[in-house]
Amino acid sequence: MASISIPVRSQDKAKSGLLGWLATVDHKKVGLMYMVMAFVFFIGSGLLALIIRTQLAAPGMTLVDPNTYNQIFTMHGTGMIFLFTIPMLVGGFGNYFLPIMIGARDVAFPRLNAFSFWITLGAGLVMSIAFLVGDRSAAAWTAYVPLSTSTYSPQSGMDIWLLGLILAGIGSTLGAVNFMVTIFTMRAPGMTAWRIPMFVWAMATTAVMVLLATPVLTAALVMLVADRNFSTQFFTTSNARLWQHMFWFYSHPAVYIMVLPAMGVVSEVLPVFSRKPLFGAKAVVISTALIGILGFTTWVHHMFVSGVSPAIERFFIFTTMVIAVPTGVKMFNWIFTMWGGSLNLKTPLLMCIGFLSTFVIGGITGVIQAAGPVDSYLHNSYWVVAHFHYVLFGGSVFGIFAGLYYWAPKMVGRMFDDKLGKLHFVLMFFGFNLTFFPMHILGLEGMPRRIATYAGDRGWAAGNLVATIGAFTIALSILVFIINLVKIARSKEAAPADPWEGNTLEWMIPSPPPEYNFAVIPTVQSDRPALDARNGGVTPAAHH
């Protein structure tokens, strides 16, 4: 059996203690730091959401004044997207598992990797400090010009917010370069294209998207900073839609940057917990790539009612609807991975089922909204708030928790409490649907998003109250998750190397993985090397 063994030099051994974390370039430690940071911002942005929901629980509430309310929803959106979802999925899961899953000892540029983390943390700190000490940005996460110019948003909080996003953008662009080089050059011997794990395929597609999209946003942000401070005229003269084009050229693909890695997690968990191979693996890879490409062709659907011409509208209605096809393919392939399987209904699988059953609603409402004339009713209404939460919470957040439960034994070397995990799932699933389903109806009844309050005669009180009850149910579910984390920390039950009968390489090394992952770089002979190893080194049914 051909295998390559590279001895690990002893001086490369990491320092322990605080300095060990601060100075680390180990992809696993960097990944864990990303995850901790992201989780902290998840809690912070979630608490802001609770303030929003409390304010809207009944008509005419004055818990916060309109100006504070605007700052809160601006920071809720910014935090959840740039400081939680992207760092958790790309920085956290990507860093920790991508190198192991391709049989590498680290990423291609470990020091650049650490730099990406620290600059992302810097972005988070810059924005949090601005938020905590006041003078905050209140122009929504979309920061449309001219509301975000120095005329209408003179506060320095707006500049600090822009600076924070520029830093976050640099961090994720550098991370994307690192992942691409790692995937291209550092795969274990035998890991041909079709043997690359689904999560890694998803990360590869995501990295390409980050690399093509993020610099456009960063450029727009720099231009806006210049307009605000150095009297340039990028956005202040003739074309009001320039900002909108640059912003959405990033921010539509950003949806896939947040969803594709979560889909990658689902594509890993479902086969393992169904004891079956992924149904139509090639179709899933091709669909992922298609979503990545088509994701760049739809951004103007955010601008149908901003005054674009009918011909352009028609084109973007088409491109937007087309994306439903590869997404649908993945949906059916996932369900038929479970069909005929032996479903191990533990928390990771339940979270995946949560993903499938809610994400499908976000996908369908996406097609409904893409119908131009319907968009001219629903645009910017609470329907849209419902839609993107079904995509980003129903999709990304359920996917994130699926990944956290799936990989927790590997990362910390202890088992979590599955009963508590199930309680977390049930509370979060019902809380989520209670919160966001009524928002579809509120939108149809004419409730605009981003309003600090509403009058009692509009008929929106009941739906909003239900949504608020749902939001606190979600909060309760997160509390259950935190209790589970504490239990894991105190647990004495060591996790085996492979608690789930996994397929991919991370299940062939101890939990938690040692420094540099592999004592001997494995040779890969199929798309499920860990299964091969369990079967005694040969694949009985590698190719069909």
């Binding site: 122009a139 009001a240 191979p277 011409s309 069909w339 097609v367 409904i368 131009g372 319907v374 004419g446």
Partner: protein, 244 residues
């Protein structure tokens, strides 16, 4: 959706209703399939060993083609409806929806493309609307004092929209499509054959501190009632101007 009060709003609702039915069918199909799968294939014993099916080309082709057909239908319905909306324009006679203020050529094209009975210039401001009737007397009013924008029923009316500061959005869902109100530009919304009644509009693009309070009422009244109201309002306006 709120009950439509113009043919345009009705077109939008009809489209939504059809797409909604397709959506519900898709939703039920997927959720039932998912639920049946999750219940039926629970692990029964630790030694279960399911058949390792790697895929099925025919089935996969099926769930590529069928959704593609559904999506094609929705696309066709959407552009068909879009073409029927007043002022949206068709491919052979597009109406320029945006033009810079003062662009005479574009203004003439808008004027010629759809003859209307009444034009009202509307300016969005932080955080109210100003209405200027482009007709005898040139009545000026604003939404600040809770007064409604009064318009005649059953006529064709064009609202020329612009903003004095940031972006706002004109949204009176019962009367037709929404449209952004941009500074430095004019966009046009048509209200065609509206039924009498009172309708609530609300700014639907986040425009700063008091965005939540940027509401406007639209009152559609029969032509005679409109004429009487207009005469009275113009006379009142003239008195105010004269007394200055």
């Amino acid at each position: 959706m709120l009950p439509p009060a113009t043919p345009d709003a009705q077109l939008i609702k009809n489209l939504y209703d059809v797409v909604f039915v397709l959506a519900v069918v898709t939703f039920v199909l997927v959720e039932v399939l998912l639920l049946v799968t999750a219940v039926r294939f629970r692990r029964k014993s630790a030694t279960d060993s399911p058949v390792p099916v790697h895929g099925n080309n025919l089935a996969e082709l099926g769930w590529t083609i069928v959704p593609a057909i559904v999506v094609a239908i929705v696309f066709w319905l959407s552009i068909d409806t879009a073409g029927k909306l007043t002022g949206h324009g068709s491919s052979n006679a597009p109406i320029t929806r945006i033009h810079a203020i003062g662009d005479k050529v574009a203004e003439r094209r808008v004027n010629e493309s759809a003859a209307v009975d009444l034009v009202v210039e509307i300016t969005g401001r932080q955080w109210f609307w100003t209405y200027t009737y482009k007709t005898a007397g040139g009545l000026v009013a604003d939404s600040n004092d809770g007064k409604a924008l009064v318009l005649p029923a059953g006529k064709s009316i064009r609202l020329d929209l612009t903003s004095a500061d940031v972006i706002h959005a004109w949204w009176v869902p019962q009367l037709g499509p929404m449209l952004y109100v941009n500074p430095g530009e004019r966009t046009a919304i048509f209200i065609q054959d509206a039924q009498p009644g009172e309708y609530i509009g609300q700014c639907n693009f986040f425009c700063g501190v008091r965005h939540a309070y940027m509401l406007n009422n639209i009152k559609i009244v029969p032509q005679e009632e409109f004429n009487a109201w207009y005469k009275g309002s113009v006379a009142a306006q003239e008195t105010v101007v004269a007394s200055r």
